[in-house]
């Protein structure tokens, strides 16, 4: 008998049919992957199983019986539990209080604390119940989320992109936990777009594309190319790789130490690295290890860097404002598109003025025709699908807006381009275009620094890699010489000569012999 079955499920939103006649079959104790690129409909499907959204058509069956899941409490009562990609945790409360809030039974807090300790031991998920969540690392927070779910004794556990915040070693530990859970009879729905993980962990895989199911396969019997074909209809696009010809040093960072602004941040300690013309330096790291603070220091949004810690072409720019850095050739694409890279309610034309002030005369007068022209050029050059230069930034899809923002900075002919999470939440087509443009820029002699949480992406386009962990920076290593395992260790702070680092990071597991190996292009 099937634990969970979706039959002919559909969901329509105003502008898109998120799920179209979707079927899903999950056996008890099965680890079932749901594979699809961004926008394929995975999260909508999960929301319906979890009770946050109601389907327009179709039927859901639980243990063979038809059910209507009206809200999350009902889902939980059935035994369905979800661990979100973006955690539903409350920073100022303790781990135990957070867990308590996620449970429906009116248990007392001390009882909860005890049960947390028990479950942690049983499944190898170390959690200190009385610590406030804001003091936990990202990996630890995920463990709190999982423990919260486990305390509901779920029959079906849904995990949404769980490994985006873990080092490769921590991923292996998670897999051990999940396999034990499955062996104990709990079914697992594993949402991901990472082919290697799905093939290593899952018994079964349903592939979504454009809201429809394109196939249900046993991933252990299919190769990456096969899964890719089901996911995007073709082989993954190949990028043109020219030999790197690194020139002079464009930016040199040395002794960059910036204290954190508040208890929720990360202090940067003695960061140092170089970026040369004509090369791409990739910054790897688990989110929450200082990437945001580093970006703010480099872009000028945080001008507290010590004197001489950031030099552009030998000139100290550590205290310069973002506008001044742009004049000197440093451009930046932030990871937040709406609200930081662009003003959501302003038009694309108006949004060019954020970083491109060529059309503003000395007296401050804005020449609207010139501004419009620039926006139109960007739209056509970077293939941005938008309702004209007057379209509001928030009316564009994630991929198109990212193309526009990245394009806006590339078009400025920078000497150094810093990009944070270039293809996060972007569909495969747009991602390929963006990566291609970045490579073109590098071939034209620009220096690039790219921060990404997707190791695959960095291995694909970066010439050299550095790793940021707990506010510290590793030495650099040419990509060709790096392996996933080694970078994974570095992501936990274990690089040579770094010394031991403080408490709070995910304890690294010994690298296993069957480590996940990524096929290099």
């Amino acid at each position: 008998m099937l634990r969970l079955e979706l039959i002919g499920i559909s969901k329509q939103y105003p502008s898109v049919r998120a799920n179209d006649n979707v079927n899903l079959r999950v056996l008890p104790g099965e680890i079932h992957a749901v594979l699809g690129e961004n926008g394929a409909g995975k999260s909508t499907m999960m929301k319906m199983i979890y009770g946050a959204v109601r389907p327009d058509e179709g039927e859901i069956r639980w243990n063979g019986e038809k059910v209507e899941i009206k809200n999350p409490q009902q889902a939980r009562a059935l035994g369905i539990s979800m661990v979100f990609q973006h955690f539903s945790l409350f920073d100022t409360l303790t781990a135990a209080e957070n867990v308590w809030l996620g449970l429906d039974k009116s248990m007392k807090l001390p009882e909860i604390t005890q049960r947390i300790t028990q479950v942690s031991k049983d499944y190898g998920l170390e959690v200190e119940p009385l610590r406030p969540v804001h003091s936990l690392s990202v990996g630890e927070r995920q463990r709190v989320e999982i423990v919260r779910s486990l305390l509901t004794s779920p029959k079906l556990l849904i995990l949404d992109e769980p490994t985006s915040v873990l080092t490769p070693q921590a991923v292996q530990k998670l897999f051990v936990t999940l396999r034990k859970l499955a062996a104990d009879g709990c079914s697992i729905l594993y949402i991901s777009h990472k082919l290697d993980e799905i093939r290593a962990l899952c018994h079964n895989c349903t592939v979504l594309r454009g809201g429809k199911v394109t196939g249900m396969v046993d991933p252990r019997t299919v190769d990456n190319a096969g899964l890719s074909r089901l996911m995007i209809g073709a082989e993954p696009p190949q990028l043109q790789h020219k030999q790197v010809k690194a020139g002079a040093v464009v930016m040199s960072v040395q002794g960059l130490s910036v204290p954190k602004l508040d208890q929720f941040g990360t202090t940067l300690s003695d960061i140092g690295f170089e970026v040369r013309a004509g090369e791409i330096v990739g910054v790897a790291g688990v989110s929450g290890n200082g990437q945001q603070e580093l970006m703010a220091a480099l872009s000028g949004e945080d001008p507290r860097g010590p004197e001489g810690s950031i030099k552009l072409f030998g000139k100290d720019i550590a205290s310069h404002s973002p506008r001044r850095r742009r004049k000197e050739g440093l451009h930046f694409v932030p990871e937040e598109r709406l609200g930081r890279g662009a003003v959501p309610v302003m038009s694309l034309a108006q949004n060019t003025l954020l970083t491109r002030t060529e059309a503003v005369s000395g007296s401050g007068w804005i020449r609207s025709t010139a501004v419009d022209l620039l926006a139109a050029n960007l739209i056509s050059r970077f293939n941005v699908k938008a309702g004209g230069t007057g379209a509001a930034a928030k009316s564009l899809s994630g991929g198109n807006l990212q193309k526009f923002i990245v394009g806006r900075e590339i078009d400025a002919n920078p000497k150094l381009l810093i990009v944070s999470q270039p293809t996060w939440g972007v569909d495969v087509g747009a991602a390929a275009l963006i990566r291609g443009e970045l490579l073109k820029l590098r071939d034209a002699g620009c220096a690039l620094l790219i921060v990404s949480e997707e190791l695959d992406e960095l291995f694909e386009i970066a010439d050299r890699l550095i790793v940021i962990a707990q506010g510290r920076m590793s030495p650099s290593i040419p990509t060709a010489e790096a392996t996933i395992e080694r970078i994974g260790e570095w992501m936990s702070g274990l690089w040579p000569q770094a010394g031991s680092l403080g408490a709070g990071s995910a304890a690294p597991a010994p690298a296993t012999a069957q480590g996940v190996r990524h096929a290099q292009a």
């Binding site: 539903s88 409350f90 409360l93 209080e97 809030l101 009116s106 508040d262």
Partner: protein, 306 residues
């Protein structure tokens, strides 16, 4: 020196409406809603309470009327900012402006009217103790109820599950929503409860403290109460202490005049407002201090959307 017990008594009385309103606003803000309509709610409640007391002669009914008026106006405010997602600042302002005009309009017939005499209230026995007796134990019951409400709030917020849920909603409505909590209803309840407390404060002003009605009776206490919640870093006991502090400053102008200090009465009347500004400046100086204690979602709209 024998003025001191009376001064203390006056401070407690003067601080009570601030404490009630401050507590109401604290509950609002713990849930993440910034209520700039407090002044309007207090005004509407003040006239409602006065009218009730005038017509029925009952204090209790006056406070019930005040709480109801405050709660109703708060419900309208809540419907706008929570369901229609209108800008919290502008809507609160609008409610205050409306409350000012509406209370002035309704109160036209009550200007210059007097309430019937009430027997002064005393706690038997305790009120006879020299010095402390007149200072602490001869107050209207509402003064003691206010203190009790503060204590109840401490228990509610930090010892009950419902209070934990409220704090969670104020910190991250999105996470609370994802866990299945009815964020909007919880916020509405907080807003209405806060409005009722502001209402009780308004009724206290018109029925016990003044007691009379004129246009604009509340004289900015709603705004001072807002400053109070920030000053108290969103903790109930600090709200109470801060309220008495402000009450004391307000009384200071009369004490100074009584002591023969030759200072213009208008300049002395500025004292509570200037004190508020000074206190705000001092407490806001350290942004970290604020960030740690402020409910993270305060003032931001919540969309339980896709």
């Amino acid at each position: 020196m024998d003025q001191l017990p009376l001064l203390i008594a006056a401070t407690l009385a003067s601080g009570t409406p601030l404490a009630l309103a401050g507590l109401g606003l604290l509950i609002n803000e713990k849930a993440g809603v910034l209520n700039l309509g407090a002044e309007g709610m207090m005004l509407v409640a003040a006239i409602a309470g006065f009218a009730a007391a005038f017509t029925t002669g009952s204090d209790t009914l006056a406070f019930v009327a005040g709480a109801a008026a405050g709660g109703l106006l708060a419900a309208a405010f809540g419907a706008l900012v929570i369901w229609l997602n209108t800008n919290q600042y502008a809507t609160g302002l609008a409610v205050s402006l409306f409350g000012y005009g509406f209370s002035a309009f309704v109160g036209v017939g009550y200007v210059g009217q007097k309430l019937s005499e009430r027997t002064p209230f005393e706690i038997p026995g305790l009120s006879q103790i020299p010095f402390i007796g007149p200072a602490l134990f001869r107050h209207h019951p509402m003064v003691y109820i206010a203190i009790a409400l503060i204590a109840a709030a401490v228990w509610f917020l930090y010892r009950s599950r419902a209070g934990l849920v409220l704090r969670a909603v104020g910190e991250s409505p999105e996470s609370a929503h994802a866990l299945g909590y009815k964020v909007r209803w919880i916020r509405l309840m907080a807003v209405v409860a806060g409005g009722a407390l502001c209402g009780m404060a308004g009724a206290f002003l018109s029925v016990v403290y003044a007691p009379l009605w004129v246009e604009g009776l509340v004289a900015g206490r709603g705004w001072i109460a807002l400053a109070l919640t920030t000053f108290a870093t969103w903790r109930p006991v600090r709200v109470l202490l801060g309220a008495y502090l402000f009450g004391g400053v307000t009384m200071a102008q009369f004490a100074l005049q009584g002591a023969g200090v030759n200072f213009s009465s208008q300049l002395l009347a500025m004292l509570p407002y200037i004190a508020t500004i000074v206190v705000l400046a001092i407490i806001s100086r350290n942004p970290t201090w604020i960030r740690i204690n402020m409910p993270a979602s305060l003032g931001k709209p919540f969309h339980p959307g896709t």
